[in-house]
Symmetry: D2
Subunit: 359 residues, 4 copies
């Protein structure tokens, strides 16, 4: 395996405030794991990324969850039921737009094998699969992701989050640069309790003219001469995890703050973009089968929840930047190229240093 390029924290850059977790990724939230399958041959530059809230049987022990649609130009599946019932009952898969069906098949293979009761003695299951359009680099019409790839991504899950041009991020573009998978985390202190909040993004959005790093405009560095659109097209999927005890309504409120992180990178929420947020809490599980009449669930007070809001903004901003910083250049379909922004690191740091001398 090729070594991962440095994150922006490794560049020496911190976003906002609050300490990050030890891995500065979504897997700092206890129990969360992430896996990838990457397809990278010629015009096939795509893949699947899996996020598991816990390692058990998620259908039987669901987690509280919420979705937030920032812009609905997207083809994600499973959002309607999460909104109604406030729970996630499968891992989340990310892939390209036309591979949602294959990923769904794989997710069904995986979950039906785990739970033979589904569709026999109990109801069905709600697979959650989100997507971005990687057709600039990938032969998306070829639908090269198979259900087997999806199952492999689920089995690949571990605490280590490989970032950059991997998994579902393999063919994605961001602000004219190579985008993909990025992650980050923050500690949120509420009185004597320290909670963790992690973000993972699949970045595929952004108008090259408006990229910012922590407020510093970087449009002068925008890639030239390629087919980079001058519009904010594409999409972004944001997955938020936390061990803060939250109701689904409260997770929805956290999810709504993701847009702040996106805006701080330079997004103005382009028209042709499926900007979708899925948030879950690992603090407690909700059983498929009732254990009694009513059960106690912990919720942080709404005023405490508010401490998580800037944490979401900063973790998402940093995750998008990590998806850029860690992404190696990719040559794909029709010879199209997206360059990794890491080659610009020194120039970016130079500009930033001069900017900071002004503070």
């Amino acid at each position: 395996m090729v070594e991962q390029l440095p994150t922006i924290a490794q560049w020496g850059i911190g976003i906002g405030a609050l300490p990050t977790g030890p891995m500065n990724s979504i897997t700092d939230v206890q129990g969360v794991t992430v896996g990838h399958v990457t397809l990278a041959v010629d015009h096939v530059q795509t893949g699947v990324t899996a996020i598991k809230p816990h390692s058990g049987n998620l259908f039987r022990d669901k987690v509280p969850a919420a979705v937030h649609v920032i812009n609905g130009f997207g083809k994600s599946v499973g959002l309607v039921q999460v909104a109604e019932l406030g729970v996630l009952e499968t891992p989340i898969l990310l892939t390209n737009t036309f591979s949602v069906a294959a990923a769904t098949e794989g997710l069904l293979d995986y979950t039906l094998a785990q739970s033979p009761e589904i569709g026999i003695s109990t109801g069905t299951i709600n697979p959650v699969v989100c997507e971005c359009n990687d057709s600039y680099l990938n032969d998306i019409r070829g639908r090269h992701v198979t259900r087997t790839h999806a199952v492999e991504a689920l089995h690949d899950c571990s605490q280590e989050v490989i970032q950059g041009s991997v998994g579902a991020g393999r063919g994605m573009s961001c602000f004219g640069w190579k985008g993909g998978i990025g992650s980050s985390s923050r500690y949120v202190q509420i009185e004597s309790n320290a909670y963790t909040l992690g973000a993972l993004v699949l970045s595929n959005f952004g108008d090259p003219a408006w990229l910012c790093l922590d407020g510093q405009p970087l449009s002068a560095l925008a890639p030239q001469g390629n087919a980079a659109s001058s519009e904010d097209k594409g999409s972004v999927i944001v997955v938020l995890a936390t061990d803060m005890p939250c109701s689904s309504r409260q997770l929805g409120r956290l999810a709504k703050r993701a847009v702040v992180g996106l805006a701080r990178t330079g997004s103005y929420i382009g028209h042709g973009s499926g900007d979708i947020v899925v948030a879950f809490s690992t603090a407690q599980t909700i059983p498929h089968t009732p254990r009694g009449v009513a059960e106690p669930y912990l919720s942080v007070h709404e005023e405490h929840l508010a401490h998580g809001f800037p944490a979401v903004a900063w973790a998402v901003e940093e995750a998008v930047w990590n998806s850029l910083a860690c992404a190696r250049s990719v040559v794909g379909r029709a010879g199209h190229v997206r360059h990794g922004i890491s080659g610009m690191r020194d120039e970016i740091l130079r500009r930033r240093a001069r900017g900071h001398s002004t503070l």
Copy 2:
């Protein structure tokens, strides 16, 4: 005080299934109280109705709540914040469309007096006031309801729910007949626990051609020769209370079933109608000021919650019918008249008896 006309249960009619509470009203839910102020002189036929979830300080001890907008052609206030935060922090007032502002002032008078900290050492408060348009019988442009009336309705609250042409219901019309305030309740058994679910409606909707009683069409009895619209105009406010422990998301799911009860009375959710549902649970309170980091809240399992769904449908249907059955005729603005349907009771029961002989 004039005696209340009989409810349909007193006519001998039960709707759907499940036992009703002892008073067959929303106040069967422990702690809930209802009060009215009625203005009934010449062209002034209007009023205020107050519903209190509990008798304490609701700002300091809020109740979980949800709103559901069936049709948004309405001017209710306070719904946005209930949707965001999932709590009710004032009693609910009902009145006519153009008296919402006066009722809001009265509700502020009442709540600011209770809580001197509001707007000084803590934030503001979210008054919830819902309305229907009683302009057929009432001089609505005169805005005869004052803030004092609103406070009086709040002080009038008791366990007894007067139904019919009273309070906010004084000037309302329903299916061409006199509408107004109606209520009903159901017991919901979940394993060994018996919960209560109560509904109170302010009825002001319905096309006379489509009125039904428990499936029996009553269009043949439709009032003739008055200005009764042939369209389903007007509005209806439904307040649901329960002692079932529910999250605000779950209360929202209960609230969505109110439309079934309305449809069963003959509504097709007319265009010009503000059909609004507010639901709350009295099972537990949520403190304004955090008591710790996180607190346990009970929630019934989603499969148990489902037992409440038909209860909502039936309680709402019966509450609408009680608003009709208990309403005395009113002569109001410009000599307009709405007759109470109670005069038709024998004819309705005769039709129903014949219909039932067929079962």
Copy 3:
């Protein structure tokens, strides 16, 4: 092909008011066609149903559309983008819950073949596939529907709508009886213009204890001794078509009235139910590629739109009943049986006749 069983209009029963179109089906709306593929061997009792708004290239010439989620316990795909953009750009497919992915693949095959520009020189496409759970009669875990079946259903589309135990309706159950595909239509007169509004349902819901026909309770006829749940489980998909010129917002308002038709059949919107409505207008198309800066779109006035509201309620109610009346009995998985209600026709008509003598 086995002949279709009579609809309730052929039983002599009309629902509500307003004239029906010549075929009393969704295809009375000019240009709309419907096709089926039915799988009916042993434990495989399922299929696909396709609805096309027009016979051209729907990606290039989209139709205004809206979705409404009555209850979100469902796995339909494509709803998020319809809500955002207000257009439908593929035919609608209906199938069983676990065949949504296969149907999506088939819909992609079909649409990508029609439009080679998709994913190359323009963006992607938003397939709309809705579902119910037919696992009582069908081996749903076997995922027997293939992408080829989906394409075949699209090619099967014609003006004739076969109703009952066909297509996606093959394995569905409704109020303990055999459910499936049903349709109906209404003329809506607005001043001098006659518009058509059609409904097609995939019925798979309903508590046997509460089935009604036009207000007449039929619980006494409820099927006995089988595994019929005593709860309102399952799902229902409602597709509404009209040639009334409507914005997507207005189509959303029409869609919200479908629940009235469902409630009139006896639904109380059960918990475990994906109750989803998709509505579109054929009055005009919206080009994928801009033809100029701004284009004129006709919209009926909101007060005229209201004439469509009862039409929706009645067409949906009649469509559900046609799905029952036209459904032949099916024996499926594990020897499970659902009987067609048509065997009860005489008894139902007898009860109805006696009930009507009371009017």
Copy 4:
């Protein structure tokens, strides 16, 4: 009248791109006017601001409109009906939280006087009043705004938009500084057509630690030693106007981009904040009374609409900054003070100049 302090354009700062209109305010949209009443004596530091989409009778000739709730911790009225019907039928009033009722009364006085048919021969009217909490500087419990003030603000409307500590903005705070009313506009070129998009904000939000100007962090300048919260509390109301022909759905999409402008000033959408957007188009009116069966409405193509998205972000960001730049210091309730940020202008420009030398 005291002269208005310079806007940030007068400081020499432009935000984003696109040319501004001649007045760089919401009234660059033809027909839009703005008026204020300001109360500024001792502990009474509050007021009313009115925005009129056109100078005619808005009830009879409505404008397409949409609302978007960024965060629903707010008490604005009228939003439910705008969401349902997609039209605005009164001017918009802004005031403090506890004066919403008084402003509603004034708006009713004004509109009922204009249209004697309301509540007599036709339905009622939906007043739109939005609010922020100015209790730090203003005696909000005193409810000093009267219905007469509201009417006066409506009569004060003109093309000139006074910005800063005026009208509803008199007592507002923003990032620990004096906030209030700000405005800005952008030209949006679509092929050969130039459209105007204008924003007006009532700013009352922001954590002092995170204020930014065009990416430049200004936390080092944060006001010290006063009761400035370290949280992002408060609220913001954004009104968007455009002459682009848009459906209400499209206006909703424009409204959703306002959050980008807020995020760019440093907001992370605090918990205790009513962040509300109301957007309308002046391109065409929608008659209260139908003129025929259906009417043609122009809509820009969705891809053209997208040109308005960055325009919204930049106009909102600049409007917030103008609300800061133009605001004079105010001493109010309990001796509380908010300083105008204009005193920091030279320091801000110095930092900005050094930052820019790095580009």
